[in-house]
Symmetry: C2
Subunit: 332 residues, 2 copies
DNA sequence: GGGCCGTCTGACAACGATGTCACGTTCACG
DNA sequence: CGTGAACGTGACATCGTTGTCAGACGGCCC
């Protein structure tokens, strides 16, 4: 900047004025400065600029998601990016991999970097630690999972409703042995999905067989192994509810191995690319990830803009997308 | 920081020393400062710190990919994140959507933010503009597509080889009418894939029918429409090579619509989740995206660390993954 | 007891930019 | 022709931190 000022024969402040398009600079001077900027490839240092500015915005949005390579997280991130762009804000993204300590470290790091806002899909069960972290820190919006131990904005689908829709759909067709595959039981949304699965049974005066419920499944392989074990039962399930996208993938693989893809009904939670091209096409509970991301972005930028309403919990209704795999009837 | 210093009864510099774990601070003072830091929830301002430091690192890696929600980009991003973490570096990610102007803007923005390094999957055909941008800017590594008009490191698969493997695989089984679906013809890697597709034909003394080659397909829907049109030809293709992951998805959908999934052979470029669960499972050319990302991260951090070797072009060999869809024989 | 050294600490400038304010011109007006 | 407002510009302090250097202090040696 000093060099630009020297080359243009003006003061630092005037260079600043031109670079920031402030008024009150004569056309002549503006041109001279612009020429010098081009000639020297001058790029303002955003960090220094933000340091000095009164309304200090780093133009950074922190996004902590479960796993960047997972289609759900990736879709969410993309929606956040689109929501951030109009605000001239870039997205700092990181994966938590369900790591609680990692969540803490990453939040700390992002706060130190003075992000303007934070969108987080928490791995931890409680986020009390955020209270101090955020006392004078950036606004936070929770997605996919609700905040615990702290009051904050959140956007998520009704997990219990989604699971209930899925299980009810299978039960309505006459299935009475509906297996349930779930992710880590310690996660609140997993508990919600489990509750929804049970509620669907109870609404019909039924009780799910505990032997058909498997929790703490993290990978497709684990889900496949669980399904194979279930199929080996004396009284195997005639339908399966997979409480997470990759668990549905594992279930499909297991059913394929036994040649039962057209025999055992399957409904998954979370849509994913190509689900409609499977054979039979996969019936799923869809969460509108784009809408979730856009809503989260709106909320966080609202807070950044000074919105001080009491925190809102936005709940988005999931929908059942019937494609075939969930409409296989039980054996006569 | 001033408050911490006051509370601990020491100078600013001493707080700095304690926070940065510098030696030469008595245990007593260190404890007092640490207590004050905790009490006041003090967080060092990374931007200010980097501004002053001699070896200024922002701890930011810029990653410009085609589309964050695409499984290929997402997988790459994840690998970059993993490669960046040991260097205490966070990833600033953005989507280009094949937008040339957008690429320019985003690069400019990232340079202004003083990222330590840049990994870019370029949308533009030539990157001359980067020469000035990077004269005293961060090191850049290109992924997936080669740099043009600028000398820089790059990591990518051999696109021509991949396409050749795919087309040769189909031709070897006796197919003589192998359609080719391709993305934007202006993109160099698309040209490479086209060349590979042609080379496979020429190796057998054949010439691909221009009527079976469709370029400038961007979406699954466009690919599906193209395939339907091809199937309506008087002499339709007996096999299809889809030069990009979502084009394969479109092709599958079109074949499904005509009930030809087990009749027309199909090989895709780029693997994706669930490709093995399709019926028939999809035969693809796989690029090891994790390896590409890790290699790119290694290269960019090498440069950041002061490596000044002449730029390297790392080429990773794609592999043919046979699963079924590509092994359908031509009609007798 | 004087000199020297090592240890610990603080004062000050600097990183690259912007907010504040005051100064010098120009020009319309009475 | 004097006055004052409007305009254009620059000097200086400042943002939150770290590099440099100097000084205070205690202990050791001769």
């Amino acid at each position: 900047m000093r060099d630009v000022a020297a080359l243009a024969g003006v003061s630092l402040k005037t260079v600043s004025r031109v670079v920031n398009g402030e008024s009150g600079v004569s056309a002549d001077v503006r041109d001279r400065v612009a020429a010098a900027v081009l000639r020297l490839d001058y790029r303002p240092n955003l960090a220094a600029s933000n340091l000095r500015r009164t309304v200090a915005r780093t133009g950074l949005l922190g996004a902590l998601v479960q796993d960047l390579s997972n289609s759900y997280s990736a879709g969410l991130l993309r929606a956040l990016e689109d929501g951030a762009r109009p605000h001239r804000t870039a997205v700092l993204a990181a994966s938590l991999d369900e790591g609680i300590e990692r969540e803490r470290e990453l939040v700390h790091d992002l706060v130190s970097r003075r992000v303007d806002g934070l969108v987080i899909m928490p791995a931890s069960e409680r986020q009390d630690y955020l209270v101090t972290e955020l006392r004078s820190g950036p606004p936070v919006v929770f997605v996919d999972r609700p905040p615990r131990g702290i009051v904050a904005d959140s956007v998520m689908v009704d997990h219990a409703l989604g699971a209930r829709l899925a299980a009810a759909h299978l039960l309505e067709q006459g299935h009475r042995r509906v297996a349930g595959l779930f992710h880590l039981a310690r996660i609140s949304t997993v508990q919600d999905r489990l509750a929804g699965y049970r509620a669907a049974h109870e609404a019909l005066g039924l009780t799910p067989d505990p032997g058909l419920v498997v929790t703490d499944l993290s990978t497709a392989d684990e889900a496949a192994a669980a399904v194979l074990a279930l199929l080996d039962l004396a009284d195997p399930p005639t339908a399966i509810f997979a409480g997470r996208n990759i668990l549905a993938a594992g279930a499909v693989a297991a059913l394929a191995e036994r040649g039962l893809r057209r025999t055992v009904a399957l409904v998954g939670f979370d849509d994913f690319p190509l689900a409609d091209l499977l054979d039979p096409p996969l019936t799923v509970i869809r969460q509108d990830v784009g809408r979730i991301g856009r809503t989260a972005a709106e909320m966080v930028f609202g807070r950044i803009g000074g919105d001080t309403q009491t925190p809102r919990q936005v709940v988005i209704e999931p929908t059942l997308v019937t494609r075939g795999s969930g409409e296989i009837p039980p054996p006569a």
